[in-house]
């Protein structure tokens, strides 16, 4: 039986969704972090997920499952928001500051999607746990 691998698959998805939630929290927290130069401005971050076929210990009657791995966390290439605020202490010589390219609405929907995906995998884990427990009770009266 491959219950251990199922737990690993669901666990990998849960940690990947946690990384996603982490970047969303970082993006939302820094949505208003202005800076004087485009390079030093915070850029929105997005994790890149990839499927990782779990082939270790693959017997002849075992089917491959696929875990989730976080390949990388990339920075968004969307243009930054430029604002004319000469009174801002961070403003450059033209009186401009740069705001991060974070879209709060997109981040909120992404957050809902990530937390739902996390919950679904928790459900998978609890279901697999009850399957394993009933297998252990096999032969009981």
């Amino acid at each position: 039986m491959s219950f251990k691998q199922i737990s690993q698959i669901a666990g990998s998805a849960m940690s990947a969704q946690t990384v996603r939630l982490n970047t969303i929290a970082s993006n939302l927290a820094n949505a208003q972090s202005a800076a004087g130069t485009p390079d030093s401005t915070y850029h929105a971050r997005k994790p890149v997920f990839a499927a990782l076929a779990a082939r270790e210990g693959l017997g002849e009657q075992q089917l491959p499952g696929a875990r989730v791995q976080v390949l990388d966390v990339v920075e968004s290439q969307e243009p930054l928001r430029k604002a004319y605020e000469p009174e801002n202490p961070l403003a450059n010589e033209n009186g401009e500051v740069f705001y991060p390219n974070v879209n709060p609405v997109a981040e909120m929907t992404d957050m809902l999607s990530a937390s739902r995906a996390f919950e679904t995998n928790v459900e998978v884990l609890s279901r697999v746990k009850s399957m394993q427990q009933s297998l252990l009770r096999l032969g009981d009266a």
Binding site: F49, A51, Q61, T120, V124, M131
Partner: protein, 124 residues
């Protein structure tokens, strides 16, 4: 007269193994719901049954499940996503719940067989 324990549970231990393997495939689909380009997969039980039927001589009283060499098929999505991901969470959750129920059913059958054997051994 002797009891062959490997044959006692019949088809159900094969079925249990296949159900557990299918749980893994479906859990992979659910886990990769937000992985770009991931293609949902599943075991085709009907094809497995057909290949088992085809190898027999027509009359079968104890139909074996073809547990070896079964192929993973690709799921055909109702609405393909733009990033190439073909996981549809509702479909996968329904399949997962159904598969878990069928696992419990097979488990119940094995349990009943074992109880019968225990009664036969204790001579009740």
């Amino acid at each position: 007269m002797s009891i062959d324990f490997s044959k006692a549970t019949g088809i159900h231990d094969d079925a249990l193994r296949l159900r557990a393997e299918r749980t893994k495939v479906l859990a992979s689909n659910v886990a990769n719901v937000s992985t770009p380009g991931y293609q949902a997969r599943d075991i085709d039980f009907a094809a497995s049954l057909r290949s088992a039927l085809g190898s027999g001589d027509g009359f079968v009283d104890d139909l074996p499940l073809d547990t070896g060499g079964q192929d993973l098929m690709y799921r055909v999505p109702y609405h393909p996503a733009q990033d190439g991901n073909t996981v549809e969470l509702g479909v996968e959750q329904a399949a997962f719940a159904q598969n878990a129920m069928e696992f419990q059913t097979s488990l119940t059958f094995v349990n009943m067989k074992l109880k019968g054997l225990a009664k036969a051994i204790s001579g009740q």
